[in-house]
């Protein structure tokens, strides 16, 4: 039965290790390839409006 215990622990460890790595990958993809916020057009910022 000891081998069965190791089998269970080993199996769950592989599943969590693989999917934890996938979380990191997904966070990285979202961070680096996520949709960029649209650039503000000229004259939109309060500073620029104040200068006009």
């Amino acid at each position: 039965m000891l081998s069965a215990v190791w089998f269970v622990l080993g199996g769950m460890a592989i599943v969590f290790a693989t999917l934890s790595l996938l979380v990191v990958v997904m966070l990285g993809l979202n961070r680096w390839l996520g949709p960029k916020p649209q650039a503000k057009t000229r004259g939109e910022s309060p500073k620029e409006r104040g200068q006009e």
Binding site: A4, V5, M12, I14, L19, L22, V25, M26, P35
Partner: protein
């Protein structure tokens, strides 16, 4: 040649008659009750054909034997099905909420917990049933709540109970709305179930959606190489969907390919259920273990959801953990229903869909882990 070899009715045994009745029951459930008709009707007809006395469809050159050799023994059918499944799945909910993938991981304890129980009842300790280490691992895979993975792993392990395991895996898919809610309610408080999660999450770019299947193949394949065929076909199908330039192929994978292989797979699985091999006490126990597998997976997902609820400062509703057991999209719908019961303004569907698609990937990884570990420990 005597009459018994000419007239099927004279060669009919009571065991074959029972199997014909089981086949008829599955056809009835599929058509009259609409319980997973896409699968149960072909499986039911396959059982009837395989158990017709003197029909010889499962003999060496019978058409069901040919299909079995071509599609099951080679593990081809589940992989072709996975191309279709991948093309049908939208991983957007998961990519918007990456943390939900851990709920999918936790729910895979349904596989390993059930394995442990099956091995305990079999060769591991009690010896009440003829379950070897390999058979117990194959029975555990019912907990993946994923038909193609169940077929692939139980066949690859060479379990003699593969037909019963496959039928149990597919049958219980339809029972998810009955098995899950009592467990979800028992393990959560009303306050937890009422928790409303933010409806909107960060948007995902098209480049992310395209890269995700490719990167997933690399990550899963490099850590659990035995899962490569399953994750490779699943993610290939998803790439067809997300590429934006392969609409025809994506539609073909979702419709023609998936439908044709489902017909062939259903008939073949039914054809594997011949009376002599199927009518044993072990088969009955496999069906009991199937319920255990779904229940343990659900409980593990909800308990992990409770941990996330506490760690996140009460921002994650633990119910979404129940959707970690693959069974796409049934378990996500169950989560939505139970959440609405507790709070009519609580829409958990998109969060649950993230955990549900995570369960699909997690079950494949778990299947690969089983294939890697069994030769080491058996």
């Amino acid at each position: 040649m005597n009459e018994g070899q000419l007239l099927g009715v004279l060669a009919l045994t009571w065991q074959a008659a029972v199997m014909l009745a089981i086949g008829g029951l599955l056809v009835y459930l599929g058509i009259a009750r609409q319980v997973e008709p896409v699968l149960l009707v072909p499986i039911g007809v396959g059982i009837i054909l395989a158990n017709m006395p003197l029909g010889e469809v499962t003999h060496a050159h019978g058409f069901l034997s040919v299909l079995r050799k071509a599609g099951i023994d080679t593990e081809l059918f589940p992989l072709l099905i996975f191309i279709g499944v991948g093309a049908m799945i939208d991983f957007g909910s998961l990519l918007e909420r990456p943390y939900t993938i851990l709920l999918g991981a936790a729910a895979q304890f349904g596989i390993f917990g059930t394995f442990f129980l099956a091995y305990l009842l079999g060769d591991g300790a009690l010896r009440l049933f003829d379950f070897s280490f390999k058979d117990a691992a194959s029975i555990g895979i019912i907990g993946s709540a994923d038909g193609p993975t169940s077929i692939y792993v139980s066949t690859a392990l060479g379990s003699k109970y593969a037909p019963a395991i496959v039928v149990a895996a597919y049958s219980y898919m339809a029972l998810v709305p009955i098995i899950q809610p009592p467990i979800m309610r028992a393990l959560t408080t009303r306050e937890e179930r009422r928790l409303v999660m933010p409806g909107r999450a960060g948007k995902v770019s098209r480049r992310t959606r395209i890269l995700f299947p490719v990167v997933t193949i690399l990550v899963v394949g490099l850590i659990a190489p035995k899962a490569t065929p399953l994750i490779g076909t699943l993610m290939f199908g998803n790439l067809l969907r997300e590429s934006g330039v392969l609409e025809r192929l994506s539609q073909a994978a979702q419709n023609e390919l998936a439908n044709i292989v489902t017909i062939l797979l259903g008939l073949t699985v039914g054809g594997m259920m011949v009376a002599a091999e199927f009518l044993q006490p072990e088969t009955l126990m496999i069906f009991v273990m199937g319920i255990v597998a779904f229940a343990v997976g659900t409980a593990a997902g909800v308990i992990f959801g409770k941990i996330m609820y506490l760690v996140s400062g009460k921002r994650v509703n633990p119910l979404i953990g129940a959707a970690g057991i693959s069974a796409f999209p049934m378990s996500a719908r169950v989560v939505q229903k139970v959440g609405l019961e507790a709070n009519p303004y609580n829409h958990l569907l998109m969060h649950a869909a993230g955990a549900n698609t995570a369960g699909q990937i997690a079950s494949v990884v778990a299947g690969g882990a089983v294939l890697v570990l069994v030769p080491l420990f058996a």
